[in-house]
Amino acid sequence: MQRRLQNINYLDLVLWLIRVSIIVIVVWGSIATLSDNPYSGRNWIDFIVFGIAQGSMYALIAIGYTLVYGVLFMINFAHGEFFMSGVMTATVFVAGPLSASGYLDRQPVISLLLILAVSMLTSVGVAVLTERIAYRPLRKAPRLVPLITAIGASFFLQYTFRGLYGSEVKPFPQVEALSGKIPFLGTELLESQLVVIIATVIMLVGLYLFVMRTKTGKAIRAVAEDKDVAALMGIDVDRTISITFALGAAMAGAAGVLYALVFRQVHFFMGFLPGLKAFTAAVLGGIGSIPGAAIGGLFLGIFESVGPPLFLDGLNVPAYHQLKDVIAFTMLVLILIFRPQGIIGERLAEKKA
């Protein structure tokens, strides 16, 4: 016991040192920035709004990671590609022609719903196929094996879609109805960002209710808890896992359309980074938990947007926006040192992980 305590003391000392030094840098940088005060209050509100809009998208993608992780304990590296495949297909086959014919501007709501439907369906199709071909046969394999197939699937899908649609950046048409600005707390909010935030909230709440209130949702939770017992209870495990993948991919497909609305261009490589960020967000919030994914996404989005100017501007770091991922990952390390199970993750996750 004595020895063990000593061990912990040494480790705790180091961890505390790390915590303290990160916090000192953060606080010092913030004070320096604020006393210098290069940004107005309005700028800060802007930063936060940008962060929330970006974070909403991370949250929607993170849901897919979290759902799949919940039932399979597997990091689905190809999830970013589900996101890309839907919106790429919708852009090439639907949004492009609709915009060229002028229908998009005449009937924006119908067009957007159509685009959304195609995007979600494609993502779901790709996800279910991927699950069927690449993951299902490996249910019983060692834990890292599905991770590698997922990486393989990620490359394969990326380059398949590049082969299909070409390597260039494809424009997503601007929707006139969503290009305005709305006054908000002394600053202006882009309508497209507002749509993103509202749509995210609706979808997250819908998903939460689905998982908590419906029979299928119950089945998903049962499979997440224990596959064998769930099977004994008469739940078709394979089908439930497929549904989980489909749900996650549908969210990713929707996120893809929101992404395209805000950023107005798509590319075969666009899934990689958001996928990585969403994965980070899922872990940050506590992987396996739906509210966790939402909160993790928002946290990450806000840190990325507010962090660089707040912490680094005052320290006279050149080109500090380059370092926003450094801030995001440092925050991740900091939070996981304090709470190894993520912001609202269950203690349980640690044991299974």
Partner: protein, 403 residues
């Protein structure tokens, strides 16, 4: 087992002997670096080493298309057809080195068009140079590559302009033509964009302007609004001119989002040739109206470029997807011209091209009329016509306005 061992050792010894003897060069070749020899029916082989995988693939594919069109339009060179060996430089140092080693292990390759990325060009030029080959890059712009004190190696040339030229041209245009006194520059951490942004900053400041913000985003970033908001809130006030010499994806994000950020509504935006293509114009869309682009001056080339574009469309189904196809086209033709000049055709129709002769012929290129301008190489291989033009984007069309 002993038998196998014996066979193995015989094999090893035999291969050592064979390797030591090596293939002797043809008797008639007197070139100090050796010759590339082609039989009467053999095609002349050139290699390309461009980035054709990964996120920057369109940059390299576009250049590769330029090479392929040059070959198609040329037909025969010195009475031989031409075969292209397309390699991938991966846009990174190890890719460039591996591609270089592969190329120099093939004695039938006479010259190389490549690399796309300066990062790949540095190690590759070393390999190519040591092996006595020659390379002409259509899109390396890093100043270090033609600086003998840094990374220049004999046998390296380029038809792309040095970053210094383009950055200075844009600064001059902003300061003198548009009369803007404050500017900001954003790069994306790529050696190319970082070099260009730096060159712009230096020139703009030396002209007397003030650079209020010099910052960077990361490749793959999508939400540029925080950076732009920070630029708008710079100490010297929002810049009148914003230069972001990044590639298509990030460039389009920056162009679109600049219009959405409060404080930058009236800022004049500009990008460089990484974002100067029909595909980029389409990706930027309406937000690009009134935006300036610096790039090679393609306007006076007239007919050749029109034919070139038609060829591009028939062969690859789209307008050029990036900007360096023209440089690649010129680089390939420069090589072909020199092959015709120094190649020795013997009676049976076989062709021998001396490598040192080819090198010195390329370095001696002067007044070559290409579609990127009149190319004249200096002793360190900078061949680009230092003419940079600035175009304005209006309704999806580029219009050249300066000089």
């Amino acid at each position: 087992m002993k038998k196998m061992l014996f066979i193995l050792s015989v094999l090893v010894v035999a291969s050592m002997v064979l390797a030591a003897c090596g293939p002797a060069g043809p008797a008639e070749c007197t070139d100090e670096l050796g010759c590339a020899v082609y039989g009467p029916e053999d095609p002349i082989r050139i290699a390309s080493a461009l980035v054709i995988t990964g996120p920057d693939a369109q940059l390299g594919l576009d250049s590769q298309h330029g090479v392929e069109i040059a070959i198609a339009m040329r037909g025969n060179v010195a009475g031989h057809s031409v075969e292209l060996q397309a390699e991938d430089d991966g846009c990174n140092a190890e890719g460039g080195q591996a591609a270089g080693q592969k190329i120099v292990s093939d004695p039938s390759i006479v010259a190389v068009v490549g690399t796309s990325c300066s990062g790949a060009g540095v190690p590759m030029s070393k390999v190519i140079s040591e092996a006595g080959y020659v390379m002409v890059s259509p899109s390396n712009t890093a100043p270090s590559l033609t600086d003998p004190a840094q990374a220049w190696n004999p046998g390296y040339l380029r038809t792309a302009h040095n970053d210094k030229v383009q950055g200075a041209a844009m600064a001059k245009f902003a300061y003198e033509v548009l009369g803007l006194k404050t500017a900001a520059a954003i790069h994306d951490g790529d050696p190319y964009t970082e070099g260009l942004a730096n060159a712009f900053r230096e020139s703009f400041e030396s002209l007397g302007g003030k650079v209020v913000a010099f910052t960077a985003v990361s490749k793959g970033d999508t939400d540029m609004k925080p950076v732009l908001t920070a630029v708008a809130a710079s100490e010297g006030g929002a810049p009148e001119f914003l230069f972001f010499p990044v590639f298509t994806a990030e460039c389009a994000f920056l162009a679109k989002q600049t219009k959405e950020v409060t404080g930058l509504e009236n800022t004049v935006t500009a990008a460089a040739d990484g974002c100067f293509s029909a595909a980029a114009a389409e990706a930027i869309g309406e937000a690009g109206n009134g935006m300036y682009f610096s790039g090679p001056d393609l306007s006076f080339s007239g007919d050749t470029y029109t034919t070139f574009k038609e060829q591009y469309n028939t062969l690859f189904g789209s307008d050029p997807i990036s900007v360096f196809h023209a440089h690649a086209f010129d680089a390939t033709n420069m090589i072909f011209d020199c092959i015709e000049k120094v190649g020795v055709t013997s009676d049976d129709g076989s062709l021998s091209v001396g490598r040192a002769a080819l090198r010195s012929c390329l370095y001696a290129t002067s007044g070559y009329q290409g579609i990127t301008g009149t190319l004249t190489c200096n002793e360190y291989g900078d061949c680009a016509d230092p003419k940079i033009s600035v175009s304005i984007l209006e309704n999806g069309e580029y219009k050249r306005i300066w000089p």
